[in-house]
Assembly symmetry: C2
Homo-oligomer: 79 residues x 2
């Protein structure tokens, strides 16, 4: 079973990396980009066969290691 | 209009960051994780109102700046 975790900075947390991308896109002539946020995506191959149990375990992985929940939010999907 | 770009290393390209995560998860007692791949996700706020045109422009951004298409693959979705 495959799980995908998407980790983004929480709204309101400054994202200098996203801002740098926005600036670079403007420099390359891409106008009309009002904002950019960058985050991480982590794909996990899991031995588990129970989707609900897998989702709960991946959420525990996020809380314990993958995300910094002070400034980041995460979303788990089973794919 | 909002677009989300997901950038992952191509299959077969070594992913030491993902491997480090897999190792750390094992150390924390999460067994049953057979593989981990880490990538980037970039969310763009676009002024465009035409979904098809926006998707094509974001693909051009990926080719020109966001992704290293030698070793990375990207997927664009309009959200």
């Amino acid at each position: 079973m495959k799980a995908r975790v998407t980790i983004m900075l929480k709204d309101g947390v400054l994202d200098p990396q996203g801002e740098a991308i926005r600036h670079a896109l403007g420099g390359l002539g891409f106008s009309g980009v009002d904002g950019v946020r960058q985050g991480k995506v982590i794909e996990l191959d899991l031995a588990s066969v129970d989707a609900d149990a897998a989702k709960a375990e991946v959420a525990r992985m996020c809380e314990g290691l993958l995300a910094n929940t002070v400034i980041e939010k995460y979303a788990v999907e089973i794919v």
